[in-house]
């Protein structure tokens, strides 16, 4: 043993640091002998307010979303989301603009011509304008509940359900998935299945698909089911690079027609002769391949993905999506976002029907089934708020450009039959961890 020496400055510093460590944590928690080991298992709360507005007085939605995520330890996580959205504004009914005024009835009307004692709401579209139903209003309530837990040593089991209801549409869905980690958790294989059951009961009844609009034929409630599956692999390629490849397949069956969409039927010169309700095939099989990469470049994180989609209606699509998260100081980050999308038209899509040609069995003028390209540009600004909170604001501009917008028919000259769509998206989010 050595001679006793005075305590050095360094030793004093270490004594002070050690005392600070032991006393601060002794105060921070007084462990109870009978308590199980306690690990921080935060409750995460996400509150979002999404605002979406299309140009030219078209649809706007306000969507509050509240999501709660509770970690029960041992990687057992319960995740619940509640969404309430309200949609209002004008929505295109599928008919093309004309040089003459056009009159339509809102779907809730009981007939196309006003009758005593029956409710009829008509709207007239000015020459050159895109026919849109101005009375469109919808409210949706949706809830999701998901549970995930480890199964054995390297597997995670998850399952959950979804319920949503609107005035004219109800949906129930369930899903289950299993993922397996191996290669020191650097590789994850996942597989999942899902099943959805929907009930469609349009305002004023579901129209008979393909029938003449003037007859106003309606059917009772209709249903559809969607069954799907997914397989995927996630691979950590290096400390800074994670890649994921997913293949999904789903098959919808039942009433896939949009009950509110019609098509214009024009004569040989392009004058509107009549309208028809659209009619879609009653099955649709979709496949998609999705590849996403997350790459850390210093403190900046790049998220780059590509999706290839294809379905049995001949709609093929490509999506490229890029996000870059840039830290501006340690409390604030900026996330620029760019997305490019392109799709080909469904094989039964047409801007309008012709009186002269053979009548098709399936038909739709829904702009969502047209060939178009779209871009989204925007950015999200996030900042930490308080001890465990984060506040963010997202601003995005969406633009959709249909490939086919005009016709060579004389009566349709000078009309934009499927105008560009622009939309603005504003999202306010607050994330809190207890």
């Amino acid at each position: 043993m050595q001679l006793k020496r005075p305590v050095s400055q360094l030793h004093l510093g270490l004594m002070a640091a050690s005392c600070a460590l032991l006393s601060s944590t002794a105060r921070a928690q007084t462990a109870d002998a009978n308590q199980p080991p306690q690990i921080d298992q935060p409750l995460q709360i996400d509150a979002d307010l999404l605002y979406y507005k299309e140009n030219a007085g078209r649809v706007q939605t306000i969507e509050p979303i509240v999501s709660l995520k509770k970690d029960f330890g041992d990687q057992r996580v319960l995740d619940g989301t509640f969404t309430l959205d309200s949609l209002s504004g004008a929505t295109p009914n599928g008919a093309i603009p004309a040089h003459q005024p056009q009159t339509f009835a809102s779907p809730s009307s009981s007939s196309l011509t006003p009758k005593p004692g029956a409710k009829t709401t008509l709207y007239t579209i000015a020459p050159g304008d895109l026919p849109q139903d101005p009375h469109f209003k919808e409210r949706r309530v949706a809830g999701d509940l998901d549970w995930s837990q480890p199964l054995g040593l390297d597997n995670t089991l998850s399952y959950g359900g979804h319920l949503s209801t609107e005035h004219d549409f109800d949906s129930v869905a369930a899903h289950a998935g299993l993922s397996h980690d191996f290669n020191e958790k650097n590789t994850t294989l996942s597989a999942g299945v899902s099943e959805e059951y929907d009930r469609i009961h349009a305002h004023g009844g579901n129209p008979v698909p393909g029938s003449d609009y003037a007859l106003y034929e309606k059917e009772p409630n209709q249903t559809k089911t969607v069954a799907g599956g997914l397989i995927g692999v996630t691979q950590v390629l290096s400390r800074n690079w994670l890649t994921e490849l997913n293949y999904t397949y789903d098959r919808s069956q039942g009433y896939l027609t949009d009950p509110y969409r019609i098509l214009s039927v024009v004569d040989a010169t392009g004058l509107v002769a009549s309208y028809r309700y659209e009619n879609r095939p009653d099955t649709r099989a979709r496949q998609s391949l999705y590849w996403v990469n997350k790459v850390a470049l210093g403190s900046t994180v790049l998220d780059l993905s590509y999706r290839r989609g294809k379905d049995s209606w001949d709609v093929g699509s490509d999506t490229v999506d890029a996000r870059l998260r840039i830290d501006l100081g340690h409390r604030v980050y900026l996330e620029p976002h760019a997305r490019w999308y392109r799709q080909s038209a469904a094989d039964f899509y047409s801007l309008y029907l012709s009186e002269t040609g053979p009548a098709p069995v399936f038909m739709s003028a829904d702009p969502r089934l047209a060939a178009f390209s779209a871009t989204t540009f925007g950015a999200k600004l996030g900042m930490t708020a308080g001890r465990n909170g984060e506040f963010s604001l997202r601003l995005e501009q969406y633009q959709q450009r249909p490939t086919e917008q005009s016709s060579s028919l004389t009566a349709l000259q000078g009309l934009n039959l499927n105008p560009n769509l622009k939309a603005t998206i504003v999202q306010l989010s607050y994330h809190l961890e207890y």
């Binding site: 050595q2 640091a17 460590l21 032991l22 009978n34 400390r239 994180v301």
Partner: protein, 311 residues
């Protein structure tokens, strides 16, 4: 009289710890054994009630496992893993983690950067398995940009680790657990308590019959040159490289690495044992001494601490 082995009541026995054992010794001490942090752990109580001692032992083991689960870099759900996975984004930590990071920050500054909780990435090329596999100097140099606590943005409760960097509480965690468990048990128990986690230990006071007899394992000698000490109060910690070194061309590469070069500190003692007010304090002094290499002894003398150095 034969030592009585107490039957442990299933109601409070931790179900996932088959090695949890309570033993009433002949010398009036009740010993509780369990395993935590890859070390054999021992809780000695100056007590007669085996059942009560078992309950205290259970609380001690739970606390050790809690700390291990929370701070182990090997567990994906630990706060250390969360921080290490954050890829450059800020992580908010709780008070306990904040206190440990504060402590590591002060030790980093007091050691002029020699003690560094970000140095663990060097393990990617240094595997101290007793072999002669000395890494390629380029591989070591490539890791240096990922080391340096000064690159970490620490403003409690937010820690921001540049992407690719890692922290771990090796060199602090076990000693911290010893002091925490001692505080926890001493809060509920009036007698003398000694907590020993794989040779790092602390006690609140000596039993009435006399000071604790502590045997410290010395490396290479496998118990032959056990250091026998009498401990009345405070902590005792040992830093050594018994089985953790590389040997090549007659040069012994110690697992004590110099964060400035990424290479082992030369002329490190085989073992340094320090006695101090707490196990945490003893542990950090022993670690600092090892980092001094050939100057370990003079460093310890300068600090005015009781120490036992083996070369």
């Amino acid at each position: 009289m034969r030592p009585a082995r107490a039957a442990v009541d299933a109601a409070w026995r931790p179900p996932h710890a088959p090695e949890f054992e309570v033993l009433a010794r002949e010398d009036g001490i009740i010993a509780v054994y369990f395993t935590a942090m890859a070390s054999p752990c021992e809780l000695l109580l100056e007590a007669t009630d085996v059942h009560a001692a078992g309950q205290l032992g259970s609380a001690a083991a739970q606390e050790a496992w809690r700390i291990e689960t929370k701070f182990s870099r090997y567990r994906p759900e630990s706060i250390v893993s969360v921080i290490n996975r954050s890829q450059g984004s800020a992580v908010a930590v709780d008070l306990e983690t904040a206190a440990l990071i504060d402590y590591a920050a002060r030790c980093h500054s007091l050691s002029q950067g020699r003690f560094d909780i970000t140095s663990g990435v060097l393990r990617r090329c240094w595997k101290f398995d007793g072999s002669d596999r000395v890494p390629n100097p380029d591989a070591v140099a490539a890791l240096l940009p990922l080391i340096g606590f000064e690159k970490v943005l620490w403003q409690a409760p937010l820690i921001t680790l540049p992407a690719g960097m890692e922290i771990d509480f090796g060199g602090i965690g076990k000693e911290y657990a010893v002091d925490r468990v001692l505080a926890l048990v001493a809060e509920q128990f009036a007698g003398a308590v000694l907590v020993n986690f794989g040779g790092d230990l602390a006690t609140n006071r000596a039993p009435a019959a006399g000071p604790w007899q502590v045997g410290v394992e010395r490396p290479d000698t496998e118990g032959q040159a056990r250091l026998l000490l009498e401990l009345r109060r405070g902590g005792l910690a040992t830093s050594g490289d018994t089985h953790r070194f590389l040997l090549r061309d007659g040069v012994r590469y110690s697992h004590i690495l110099d964060v400035r070069t990424g290479w082992p500190v030369p002329a490190v003692p085989r073992s340094v044992t320090v006695a101090a007010g707490s196990c945490v304090e003893a542990g950090i002094l022993a670690t600092f001494a090892m980092l001094q290499g050939s100057a370990a002894e003079s460093f310890l003398i300068e600090q005015g601490v009781q120490h036992w150095c083996l070369r």
